[in-house]
Amino acid sequence: MDCVVCDKISEKKAMIVYEDDNLVAILPSKPAVPGHVKIMPKQHFTQLDEMSDDLVEELFFLANFASTAVFEVAKAHGTNIILNESDNHLAIDVIPRKENDGLNFLWKPKQMSPAEMDEVHSKITDKVFLVSRGDEFNHEAKQEGPKDIIAEVEEKKAGETETPAPKDTKKGKINYLIKHLIKIP
Protein backbone atom coordinates (compact mmCIF):
# COMPACT_ATOMS: atom_id res chain seq x y z
CA MET A 1 0.00 0.00 0.00
CA ASP A 2 1.38 3.40 -0.94
CA CYS A 3 1.07 5.84 1.90
CA VAL A 4 3.29 8.88 2.25
CA VAL A 5 2.61 9.02 5.99
CA CYS A 6 3.60 5.39 6.53
CA ASP A 7 6.82 6.01 4.58
CA LYS A 8 7.66 9.07 6.63
CA ILE A 9 6.95 7.25 9.89
CA SER A 10 9.22 4.36 8.99
CA GLU A 11 11.97 6.67 7.74
CA LYS A 12 11.51 8.96 10.76
CA LYS A 13 11.76 11.93 8.42
CA ALA A 14 9.83 14.26 10.65
CA MET A 15 10.11 16.48 13.67
CA ILE A 16 8.92 13.94 16.21
CA VAL A 17 7.66 15.24 19.56
CA TYR A 18 6.38 11.91 20.84
CA GLU A 19 6.70 8.30 19.80
CA ASP A 20 5.83 4.91 21.26
CA ASP A 21 4.96 1.48 19.86
CA ASN A 22 1.56 2.58 18.56
CA LEU A 23 1.54 6.33 18.09
CA VAL A 24 3.66 9.14 16.76
CA ALA A 25 3.24 12.90 17.20
CA ILE A 26 5.06 15.34 14.94
CA LEU A 27 5.36 19.04 14.18
CA PRO A 28 4.21 19.31 10.56
CA SER A 29 6.70 21.18 8.35
CA LYS A 30 3.81 23.26 6.99
CA PRO A 31 1.60 23.87 10.05
CA ALA A 32 -1.59 25.89 10.39
CA VAL A 33 0.32 27.85 13.05
CA PRO A 34 3.63 27.19 14.82
CA GLY A 35 2.94 24.78 17.68
CA HIS A 36 0.52 22.73 15.58
CA VAL A 37 0.92 19.03 16.49
CA LYS A 38 -0.19 16.14 14.28
CA ILE A 39 -0.82 12.76 15.91
CA MET A 40 -1.06 9.49 14.01
CA PRO A 41 -1.32 5.78 14.71
CA LYS A 42 1.78 4.07 13.32
CA GLN A 43 -0.31 1.38 11.72
CA HIS A 44 -2.18 2.46 8.61
CA PHE A 45 -5.83 3.19 9.45
CA THR A 46 -8.22 5.51 7.66
CA GLN A 47 -11.26 5.02 9.91
CA LEU A 48 -11.56 5.51 13.65
CA ASP A 49 -13.81 2.46 13.99
CA GLU A 50 -11.16 0.18 12.45
CA MET A 51 -8.91 0.81 15.44
CA SER A 52 -8.96 -1.06 18.75
CA ASP A 53 -10.65 0.60 21.74
CA ASP A 54 -7.28 0.82 23.48
CA LEU A 55 -5.68 2.58 20.53
CA VAL A 56 -8.59 5.03 20.20
CA GLU A 57 -8.25 5.86 23.87
CA GLU A 58 -4.48 6.37 23.59
CA LEU A 59 -4.87 8.51 20.51
CA PHE A 60 -7.34 10.86 22.20
CA PHE A 61 -5.35 11.04 25.42
CA LEU A 62 -2.24 11.98 23.47
CA ALA A 63 -4.27 14.65 21.64
CA ASN A 64 -5.59 15.88 24.98
CA PHE A 65 -2.05 16.06 26.40
CA ALA A 66 -0.74 17.83 23.29
CA SER A 67 -3.56 20.32 23.67
CA THR A 68 -2.67 20.91 27.32
CA ALA A 69 1.03 21.19 26.46
CA VAL A 70 0.61 23.79 23.69
CA PHE A 71 -1.45 25.99 26.02
CA GLU A 72 1.71 26.50 28.00
CA VAL A 73 4.49 25.99 25.50
CA ALA A 74 2.98 27.99 22.63
CA LYS A 75 1.17 30.44 24.94
CA ALA A 76 -2.16 29.52 23.37
CA HIS A 77 -5.45 30.98 24.57
CA GLY A 78 -7.39 28.00 23.30
CA THR A 79 -6.93 24.86 21.23
CA ASN A 80 -8.75 22.95 18.54
CA ILE A 81 -8.52 19.20 18.20
CA ILE A 82 -9.69 18.02 14.80
CA LEU A 83 -9.93 14.52 13.38
CA ASN A 84 -10.99 14.45 9.74
CA GLU A 85 -11.52 10.91 8.53
CA SER A 86 -10.63 10.55 4.85
CA ASP A 87 -9.13 7.95 2.55
CA ASN A 88 -5.69 8.87 3.87
CA HIS A 89 -3.72 7.84 6.94
CA LEU A 90 -5.77 8.83 9.99
CA ALA A 91 -4.46 11.84 11.91
CA ILE A 92 -5.55 14.22 14.66
CA ASP A 93 -4.51 17.86 14.43
CA VAL A 94 -4.00 19.82 17.64
CA ILE A 95 -3.90 23.52 16.90
CA PRO A 96 -3.01 26.27 19.38
CA ARG A 97 -5.30 29.29 19.01
CA LYS A 98 -4.79 32.97 19.65
CA GLU A 99 -6.77 36.09 18.90
CA ASN A 100 -6.61 37.24 15.27
CA ASP A 101 -4.70 34.16 14.17
CA GLY A 102 -6.63 34.09 10.91
CA LEU A 103 -8.04 30.61 11.57
CA ASN A 104 -11.71 29.69 11.59
CA PHE A 105 -13.00 26.14 11.81
CA LEU A 106 -16.62 26.99 12.54
CA TRP A 107 -19.47 26.03 10.27
CA LYS A 108 -22.73 27.53 9.11
CA PRO A 109 -25.64 25.64 10.69
CA LYS A 110 -27.77 23.69 8.28
CA GLN A 111 -31.48 24.43 8.30
CA MET A 112 -33.39 21.31 9.28
CA SER A 113 -37.06 20.90 10.12
CA PRO A 114 -38.08 19.17 13.37
CA ALA A 115 -39.41 16.29 11.24
CA GLU A 116 -36.05 15.85 9.55
CA MET A 117 -34.31 15.99 12.91
CA ASP A 118 -36.68 13.36 14.31
CA GLU A 119 -36.08 11.11 11.34
CA VAL A 120 -32.30 11.14 11.63
CA HIS A 121 -32.61 10.86 15.41
CA SER A 122 -34.55 7.63 15.15
CA LYS A 123 -32.07 6.20 12.61
CA ILE A 124 -29.15 7.01 14.91
CA THR A 125 -30.72 5.56 18.05
CA ASP A 126 -31.53 2.36 16.13
CA LYS A 127 -27.91 1.98 15.02
CA VAL A 128 -26.60 2.86 18.47
CA PHE A 129 -28.69 -0.06 19.81
CA LEU A 130 -27.22 -2.39 17.22
CA VAL A 131 -23.64 -1.27 17.61
CA SER A 132 -23.98 -1.46 21.37
CA ARG A 133 -24.30 -5.23 21.11
CA GLY A 134 -20.70 -5.34 20.01
CA ASP A 135 -17.54 -4.40 21.84
CA GLU A 136 -17.95 -0.67 21.61
CA PHE A 137 -20.27 -0.10 24.54
CA ASN A 138 -19.00 -2.75 26.90
CA HIS A 139 -18.62 -0.24 29.69
CA GLU A 140 -21.05 0.12 32.51
CA ALA A 141 -24.24 0.67 30.57
CA LYS A 142 -27.16 1.80 32.66
CA GLN A 143 -30.09 -0.56 32.88
CA GLU A 144 -33.40 1.02 32.03
CA GLY A 145 -36.11 -0.77 33.92
CA PRO A 146 -36.30 -4.51 34.56
CA LYS A 147 -35.37 -6.96 31.83
CA ASP A 148 -38.13 -9.25 30.64
CA ILE A 149 -38.17 -12.83 29.46
CA ILE A 150 -38.36 -11.98 25.77
CA ALA A 151 -35.27 -9.86 26.13
CA GLU A 152 -33.43 -12.77 27.72
CA VAL A 153 -34.46 -15.13 24.93
CA GLU A 154 -33.48 -12.56 22.35
CA GLU A 155 -30.16 -12.16 24.04
CA LYS A 156 -29.50 -15.90 23.84
CA LYS A 157 -30.44 -15.90 20.16
CA ALA A 158 -28.20 -12.95 19.53
CA GLY A 159 -25.43 -14.79 21.32
CA GLU A 160 -25.79 -17.75 18.96
CA THR A 161 -25.76 -15.82 15.75
CA GLU A 162 -23.51 -12.94 16.61
CA THR A 163 -19.74 -12.92 16.49
CA PRO A 164 -17.77 -13.02 19.77
CA ALA A 165 -19.46 -11.64 22.85
CA PRO A 166 -18.01 -8.48 24.38
CA LYS A 167 -14.77 -9.25 26.16
CA ASP A 168 -15.31 -7.60 29.49
CA THR A 169 -19.03 -7.24 29.83
CA LYS A 170 -19.93 -7.33 33.47
CA LYS A 171 -21.19 -10.76 34.43
CA GLY A 172 -24.96 -11.03 34.50
CA LYS A 173 -25.42 -7.46 33.44
CA ILE A 174 -27.62 -7.24 30.39
CA ASN A 175 -27.08 -4.24 28.23
CA TYR A 176 -30.21 -2.18 28.55
CA LEU A 177 -30.20 -1.65 24.83
CA ILE A 178 -30.72 -5.36 24.20
CA LYS A 179 -34.35 -5.09 25.12
CA HIS A 180 -34.93 -2.70 22.29
CA LEU A 181 -33.75 -5.32 19.84
CA ILE A 182 -37.02 -7.18 20.05
CA LYS A 183 -38.54 -4.27 18.21
CA ILE A 184 -36.27 -4.80 15.25
CA PRO A 185 -37.54 -7.42 12.83
Binding site: V17, Y18, A25, A69, T79, I81, I82, R97, T125, K127
Partner: protein, 258 residues
Protein backbone atom coordinates in the same frame (compact mmCIF):
# COMPACT_ATOMS: atom_id res chain seq x y z
CA UNK B 1 -33.73 37.90 39.83
CA UNK B 2 -31.62 38.56 36.74
CA UNK B 3 -28.94 40.15 38.85
CA UNK B 4 -25.48 40.09 37.32
CA UNK B 5 -23.21 38.27 39.77
CA UNK B 6 -20.10 40.03 41.00
CA UNK B 7 -17.48 37.72 39.48
CA UNK B 8 -14.64 39.90 40.75
CA UNK B 9 -15.49 39.10 44.35
CA UNK B 10 -16.24 35.41 43.84
CA UNK B 11 -13.89 32.49 44.38
CA UNK B 12 -13.20 30.24 41.38
CA UNK B 13 -15.36 27.59 43.08
CA UNK B 14 -18.27 30.03 43.37
CA UNK B 15 -17.91 31.01 39.72
CA UNK B 16 -17.85 27.35 38.72
CA UNK B 17 -20.97 26.72 40.79
CA UNK B 18 -22.71 29.71 39.20
CA UNK B 19 -21.80 28.44 35.73
CA UNK B 20 -23.10 24.98 36.57
CA UNK B 21 -26.43 26.30 37.74
CA UNK B 22 -26.83 28.40 34.63
CA UNK B 23 -25.49 25.82 32.20
CA UNK B 24 -27.91 24.96 29.42
CA UNK B 25 -26.29 21.54 28.93
CA UNK B 26 -26.59 20.67 32.62
CA UNK B 27 -30.29 21.48 32.23
CA UNK B 28 -30.52 19.26 29.15
CA UNK B 29 -28.82 16.44 31.06
CA UNK B 30 -31.23 16.87 33.98
CA UNK B 31 -34.12 16.79 31.51
CA UNK B 32 -35.25 20.35 32.26
CA UNK B 33 -34.69 21.24 28.60
CA UNK B 34 -35.80 18.70 25.97
CA UNK B 35 -33.25 17.18 23.60
CA UNK B 36 -32.91 14.32 21.12
CA UNK B 37 -30.72 11.77 22.89
CA UNK B 38 -28.61 9.37 20.88
CA UNK B 39 -26.78 7.75 23.78
CA UNK B 40 -27.04 7.94 27.54
CA UNK B 41 -25.22 6.19 30.36
CA UNK B 42 -24.13 7.05 33.89
CA UNK B 43 -21.13 9.13 32.85
CA UNK B 44 -21.79 10.59 29.41
CA UNK B 45 -24.57 11.57 27.07
CA UNK B 46 -24.80 12.22 23.34
CA UNK B 47 -27.51 14.38 21.79
CA UNK B 48 -28.27 15.77 18.37
CA UNK B 49 -26.98 19.32 17.85
CA UNK B 50 -29.94 21.63 17.22
CA UNK B 51 -27.74 23.74 14.93
CA UNK B 52 -26.15 20.94 12.94
CA UNK B 53 -23.31 21.32 10.46
CA UNK B 54 -24.73 18.23 8.74
CA UNK B 55 -27.60 15.80 9.17
CA UNK B 56 -26.79 13.59 12.15
CA UNK B 57 -24.38 16.02 13.85
CA UNK B 58 -23.90 14.71 17.41
CA UNK B 59 -22.65 16.33 20.60
CA UNK B 60 -20.87 14.19 23.18
CA UNK B 61 -20.51 15.43 26.74
CA UNK B 62 -19.94 14.35 30.30
CA UNK B 63 -22.91 14.43 32.66
CA UNK B 64 -20.79 16.20 35.24
CA UNK B 65 -20.01 19.83 34.36
CA UNK B 66 -16.39 20.38 33.30
CA UNK B 67 -15.36 23.55 31.45
CA UNK B 68 -12.50 22.05 29.38
CA UNK B 69 -11.21 18.63 28.36
CA UNK B 70 -8.05 18.58 30.52
CA UNK B 71 -10.22 18.89 33.66
CA UNK B 72 -12.22 15.73 32.98
CA UNK B 73 -11.11 12.92 35.32
CA UNK B 74 -9.15 10.10 33.77
CA UNK B 75 -11.80 7.35 34.06
CA UNK B 76 -14.55 9.53 32.60
CA UNK B 77 -12.35 10.71 29.72
CA UNK B 78 -11.30 7.15 28.99
CA UNK B 79 -14.93 6.01 28.91
CA UNK B 80 -15.89 8.95 26.71
CA UNK B 81 -13.13 8.31 24.14
CA UNK B 82 -13.93 4.61 23.92
CA UNK B 83 -17.64 5.24 23.54
CA UNK B 84 -16.92 7.78 20.81
CA UNK B 85 -15.62 4.98 18.62
CA UNK B 86 -18.97 3.17 18.95
CA UNK B 87 -20.89 6.36 18.29
CA UNK B 88 -18.85 7.03 15.16
CA UNK B 89 -19.57 3.52 13.94
CA UNK B 90 -23.30 3.80 14.62
CA UNK B 91 -23.53 7.26 13.10
CA UNK B 92 -21.83 6.13 9.89
CA UNK B 93 -24.35 3.32 9.53
CA UNK B 94 -27.28 5.61 10.33
CA UNK B 95 -26.55 8.31 7.78
CA UNK B 96 -24.69 6.01 5.37
CA UNK B 97 -21.23 7.51 5.08
CA UNK B 98 -17.71 6.31 5.81
CA UNK B 99 -16.34 9.61 7.03
CA UNK B 100 -16.84 11.79 10.07
CA UNK B 101 -15.14 14.80 11.55
CA UNK B 102 -14.54 14.98 15.28
CA UNK B 103 -14.20 18.57 16.37
CA UNK B 104 -13.09 19.76 19.81
CA UNK B 105 -12.76 23.36 20.93
CA UNK B 106 -11.04 24.25 24.18
CA UNK B 107 -11.66 27.90 24.99
CA UNK B 108 -13.90 30.57 23.48
CA UNK B 109 -11.17 31.69 21.12
CA UNK B 110 -11.22 28.22 19.55
CA UNK B 111 -14.99 28.34 19.11
CA UNK B 112 -16.16 26.77 22.37
CA UNK B 113 -19.64 28.19 22.76
CA UNK B 114 -20.67 26.80 26.12
CA UNK B 115 -18.88 26.50 29.44
CA UNK B 116 -19.81 22.79 29.53
CA UNK B 117 -17.11 20.91 27.65
CA UNK B 118 -18.45 18.92 24.71
CA UNK B 119 -17.35 17.76 21.35
CA UNK B 120 -18.83 17.29 17.94
CA UNK B 121 -19.13 14.25 15.69
CA UNK B 122 -20.14 15.45 12.24
CA UNK B 123 -20.98 12.98 9.46
CA UNK B 124 -19.14 13.96 6.29
CA UNK B 125 -19.83 13.56 2.62
CA UNK B 126 -17.92 14.47 -0.50
CA UNK B 127 -18.75 18.03 -1.52
CA UNK B 128 -20.67 18.72 1.67
CA UNK B 129 -19.25 22.24 1.73
CA UNK B 130 -17.79 21.87 5.23
CA UNK B 131 -14.42 23.11 4.05
CA UNK B 132 -13.80 24.99 7.29
CA UNK B 133 -12.81 21.70 8.91
CA UNK B 134 -9.83 21.46 6.56
CA UNK B 135 -6.70 22.23 8.54
CA UNK B 136 -4.75 24.85 6.58
CA UNK B 137 -1.20 24.29 5.39
CA UNK B 138 1.01 27.35 5.71
CA UNK B 139 4.62 28.33 5.28
CA UNK B 140 6.56 29.38 8.34
CA UNK B 141 10.26 29.76 8.93
CA UNK B 142 11.77 26.51 10.14
CA UNK B 143 12.99 28.06 13.38
CA UNK B 144 9.47 29.28 14.17
CA UNK B 145 8.23 25.70 14.06
CA UNK B 146 11.33 24.16 15.65
CA UNK B 147 11.26 26.36 18.75
CA UNK B 148 8.50 24.12 20.15
CA UNK B 149 10.18 20.81 19.44
CA UNK B 150 12.10 20.23 22.64
CA UNK B 151 9.63 21.74 25.13
CA UNK B 152 6.78 19.70 23.62
CA UNK B 153 8.92 16.57 23.58
CA UNK B 154 9.66 16.95 27.28
CA UNK B 155 6.05 17.61 28.25
CA UNK B 156 4.45 14.91 26.12
CA UNK B 157 6.96 12.31 27.26
CA UNK B 158 6.16 13.09 30.87
CA UNK B 159 2.39 13.15 30.38
CA UNK B 160 2.31 9.88 28.45
CA UNK B 161 4.48 8.14 31.07
CA UNK B 162 2.03 9.28 33.71
CA UNK B 163 -0.90 8.13 31.55
CA UNK B 164 0.62 4.70 30.98
CA UNK B 165 1.21 4.24 34.68
CA UNK B 166 -2.50 4.93 35.21
CA UNK B 167 -3.68 2.49 32.59
CA UNK B 168 -1.62 -0.34 34.03
CA UNK B 169 0.64 -0.52 31.01
CA UNK B 170 3.49 0.42 33.29
CA UNK B 171 2.66 -2.57 35.51
CA UNK B 172 3.25 -4.89 32.59
CA UNK B 173 6.61 -3.25 32.01
CA UNK B 174 7.47 -3.50 35.71
CA UNK B 175 6.68 -7.21 35.59
CA UNK B 176 9.07 -7.69 32.72
CA UNK B 177 11.71 -5.78 34.61
CA UNK B 178 11.21 -7.90 37.68
CA UNK B 179 11.37 -11.11 35.69
CA UNK B 180 14.47 -9.90 33.93
CA UNK B 181 15.96 -8.79 37.23
CA UNK B 182 15.27 -12.17 38.79
CA UNK B 183 16.91 -13.90 35.85
CA UNK B 184 19.94 -11.70 35.77
CA UNK B 185 20.18 -11.74 39.55
CA UNK B 186 20.58 -15.47 39.39
CA UNK B 187 23.13 -15.17 36.65
CA UNK B 188 25.37 -12.36 37.64
CA UNK B 189 25.52 -9.98 40.50
CA UNK B 190 24.13 -12.09 43.29
CA UNK B 191 26.78 -14.57 44.33
CA UNK B 192 25.31 -18.09 44.45
CA UNK B 193 26.46 -18.79 47.99
CA UNK B 194 24.82 -15.69 49.36
CA UNK B 195 21.66 -16.30 47.41
CA UNK B 196 21.24 -19.59 49.22
CA UNK B 197 22.14 -18.55 52.72
CA UNK B 198 20.87 -14.96 52.69
CA UNK B 199 17.57 -13.90 54.20
CA UNK B 200 16.00 -13.16 50.80
CA UNK B 201 16.30 -14.72 47.42
CA UNK B 202 16.57 -12.81 44.19
CA UNK B 203 12.91 -13.30 43.35
CA UNK B 204 11.81 -11.70 46.59
CA UNK B 205 14.25 -8.92 45.96
CA UNK B 206 12.91 -8.38 42.45
CA UNK B 207 9.38 -8.26 43.80
CA UNK B 208 10.41 -5.77 46.44
CA UNK B 209 11.94 -3.51 43.79
CA UNK B 210 8.91 -3.87 41.56
CA UNK B 211 6.57 -2.98 44.41
CA UNK B 212 8.58 0.12 45.25
CA UNK B 213 8.92 2.29 42.18
CA UNK B 214 10.64 5.01 44.20
CA UNK B 215 13.37 2.62 45.21
CA UNK B 216 13.65 1.32 41.67
CA UNK B 217 13.98 4.85 40.43
CA UNK B 218 16.63 5.61 43.00
CA UNK B 219 18.67 2.52 42.20
CA UNK B 220 18.45 3.38 38.52
CA UNK B 221 19.23 7.06 38.69
CA UNK B 222 20.96 7.73 41.99
CA UNK B 223 22.80 4.60 43.13
CA UNK B 224 24.97 6.69 45.45
CA UNK B 225 21.94 8.12 47.25
CA UNK B 226 20.51 4.66 47.49
CA UNK B 227 23.64 3.40 49.26
CA UNK B 228 23.10 6.09 51.90
CA UNK B 229 19.44 5.06 52.17
CA UNK B 230 20.52 1.48 52.85
CA UNK B 231 22.78 2.56 55.67
CA UNK B 232 19.97 4.58 57.22
CA UNK B 233 17.34 1.85 57.06
CA UNK B 234 18.02 -1.53 58.66
CA UNK B 235 15.06 -3.17 56.88
CA UNK B 236 16.38 -2.24 53.48
CA UNK B 237 19.91 -3.01 54.58
CA UNK B 238 18.85 -6.58 55.34
CA UNK B 239 17.33 -6.94 51.88
CA UNK B 240 20.26 -5.51 50.03
CA UNK B 241 23.00 -6.96 52.17
CA UNK B 242 25.99 -8.21 50.21
CA UNK B 243 24.72 -6.67 46.99
CA UNK B 244 26.80 -4.50 44.74
CA UNK B 245 24.45 -1.56 44.19
CA UNK B 246 26.41 -0.25 41.21
CA UNK B 247 26.03 -3.59 39.47
CA UNK B 248 22.37 -3.78 40.40
CA UNK B 249 21.81 -0.33 38.95
CA UNK B 250 23.61 -1.27 35.74
CA UNK B 251 21.61 -4.49 35.45
CA UNK B 252 18.32 -2.68 35.98
CA UNK B 253 19.07 -0.09 33.35
CA UNK B 254 20.19 -2.81 30.93
CA UNK B 255 16.82 -4.56 31.40
CA UNK B 256 15.01 -1.28 31.00
CA UNK B 257 16.65 -0.71 27.64
CA UNK B 258 15.68 -4.12 26.28
Amino acid sequence: MAEQPDFDNMTPEQIAEYQKQNCIFCKIIKGDIPSRKAYDDDKIISILDINPAAKGHLLVMTKEHYPILPLIPFDTASHMFRTTKGLVKALKQAVITNKTTIFIANGAIAGQQSPHFLYHIVPRDNNDGLDNFIVPIKDYKEEEVLQYLSPLKAKLGMMMRDYKSKTGKAEAIAKQVSQGLADSANKSFLKPAEAKSGPVNSHELAKFIEDNPKIKDMILNNPEDFKKEIEANPEIKKLFANLDIAKLSAALSAIKKE
